[in-house]
């Protein structure tokens, strides 16, 4: 034991400035990230305004039990999982595809322009993006329905349709955020050595083989990390997007945990309930990250750490 301690102190002394640097910043983490965690205690109490934070009674897992007994909770949980799942299946791979395609483009000017252009929607907030979307999707005056009617179909009231709402969330998310992730993947690709490609070409590898054996492995670490992080957010659907776009017609498919939680909090602050739900989200996210990281690390030797 003392040998380990001696080794440790030796290491500290040898790297004391480094250690000091790290510890100093960790103080920042302690103050601005860990101190606020105290508020989560309220999830285990039954907060009442009359009693205040200190004197509100402890009820242990009572809030969680109430949550799990509420049919509305299961409804929003289901919606959240479905939407997250769809986004993971559709919007997640899409930027990867874009990056691979962009990587095979010959004209640098074309590549740079596309890269810039697809990044632009990221800058626009959902408040504005949504109002434009509703204009485009309008059954009476929107461009999309105009196209549909000219092709002989009947106009579809997209934003009020339970069948279409999820698709709209996924597709608009794709259009808005793909650029951001494409940039990350392209950057990772830029770290792949030229020589590997040259060697492959010498060996007679064709385009598809090069993509499969060099490009994809080149961004596999990034994909893994982003995938793990996305899984960690499986219970968090972009609140702003849903809140702006949803309406009573599509609550049954569009109401998600975050919008549900937001409404509970509005009415004068049901802190115990909303914090409990938040803790539930984070814990599930944490478990997802740990387990997916463990699995993927075993499989591919890539991981978060």
């Amino acid at each position: 034991m003392t040998e380990k301690w001696a080794a440790f102190t030796r290491q500290v002394r040898k790297n004391r400035l480094l250690f000091l640097m790290a510890t100093a910043v960790l103080v920042w983490y302690a103050v601005f990230r860990y101190v606020p965690y105290w508020w989560n205690i309220i999830a285990f109490k039954d907060f009442q305004w009359g009693l205040g934070f200190q004197n509100s009674p402890w009820i242990g897992l009572g809030n969680f039990r109430a949550l799990f007994r509420d049919p509305e909770f299961y409804k929003v949980l289901r919606n959240t999982l479905v939407i997250s799942g769809l986004k993971l299946a559709v919007s997640f791979p899409f930027p990867i595809l874009l990056a691979i395609l962009l990587n095979e483009v010959f004209h640098a000017a074309f590549r740079k322009t596309v890269q810039t252009v697809i990044f632009i929607p990221f800058f626009i907030s959902w408040v504005i993006y949504a109002s434009i979307l509703s204009a485009i999707l309008s059954p009476s005056s929107g461009m999309l329905n105009f196209l549909i009617s000219s092709l002989g179909g009947k106009p579809i009231y997209f934003l009020a349709s339970e069948a279409w709402f999820r698709a709209i969330l996924v597709i608009s998310d794709l259009l808005k955020n793909s650029g951001y992730y494409t940039v990350i993947y392209l950057a990772a690709l830029a770290g792949v050595d030229e020589e590997v490609y040259e060697a492959a070409i010498c060996d007679g590898a064709n385009l598809f083989q090069r993509i499969r054996h060099i490009t994809l492995p080149g961004i596999a670490p990034v994909i893994t990390i982003l995938f793990i992080l996305k899984l960690g957010q499986i219970l968090t659907v972009d609140f702003e997007q849903v809140y702006i776009l949803y309406n009573p017609m599509v609550y049954s498919v569009g109401d998600v945990i975050d919008t549900f939680n937001y409404r509970q909090g509005i009415q004068g602050g049901r802190f115990s309930y909303t914090t409990a739900l938040g803790l539930f989200n984070s814990t599930i996210g944490f478990i997802m990250v740990l387990s997916s990281n463990w699995v993927l690390q075993k499989l591919t030797d890539n991981g978060l750490w």
Binding site: L26, P36, F123, L207, I225, F286
Partner: protein, 297 residues
Amino acid sequence: MARPGFRKYLPAEKLFVVLAYGFLAVFAAACPFPFLNVLAKSFSPEFYIQQGKVWLWPVHPTLNGYEKILEAQGILLGFRNSLIVAVVGTTVNLVMSSLIAYPLSRRRLPLRRTYVTLVVFTMLFPTGIIPMYILVKSLGMINSMTSLILPYAITTFNMIIVKNYFQTVPDSLEESAFIDGAGELTILFRIFIPLSKPVLAAVGLFYLISNWNIFMPAVLFLTSPSKYTIQVVLRDILTQHMLEDQLPFDKGALMSKAGPEAIQAAVTIAAMIPVLAVYPFLQRYFTRGIMIGSVKG
């Protein structure tokens, strides 16, 4: 990038490349549409927007929307405050992130795994805004710009990007620096940072964007209107109900002057301008920038 010339491609490969160009072109065409729509509205008189006639191009263009911005109460002040937060904030972000990314990237750091765990943990368990408000209040930072900078000095996701990039710097550089008698800070600032310009540019841009767009903390921590950032001002104008309260009343004006919709559009564009201006400048770093993990050889 190394590849044989297009002529030498097999037919299947040629088809692939052509389809790739097509697909990318279509997708790229769809993306800027909302932006162009907002841009068009910002230059159009109210009447045509109300009538739903403005799509990609301004109808009977006018600069009046932007003129009204310059006249409006609080908007210029909002820009100034946002600029302060953006510049000071991003600098603090980059310095703090580097100061922690560097030690965490060195295997010789004692307690490295613990520290990494502690840091990553905070990424998975977000901090509530209520305890943050109480903390900011007890530190006496309410109604100061510091409240928008200090509590948000590090975004762990961005910091990890920097850390992973630092990890790819060869050990030999570090070793020879030590032999030459350099200290930790010298190594960080004279070797790592210059080598990391690409990733710092990328991460800097991400930080810049979030500093510029900061909203909820600004609304909650700033109590004097003179301290409001542009997003606060903009959002408030955008959610105002009574559209009709601000209509230019005279018919001639309606057809030639900017109304609330146009003003909102103009403010949106104006709020984006700084970031849009910086972006292309930094973009060239991206292609060589972010490496979260990389393959060598």
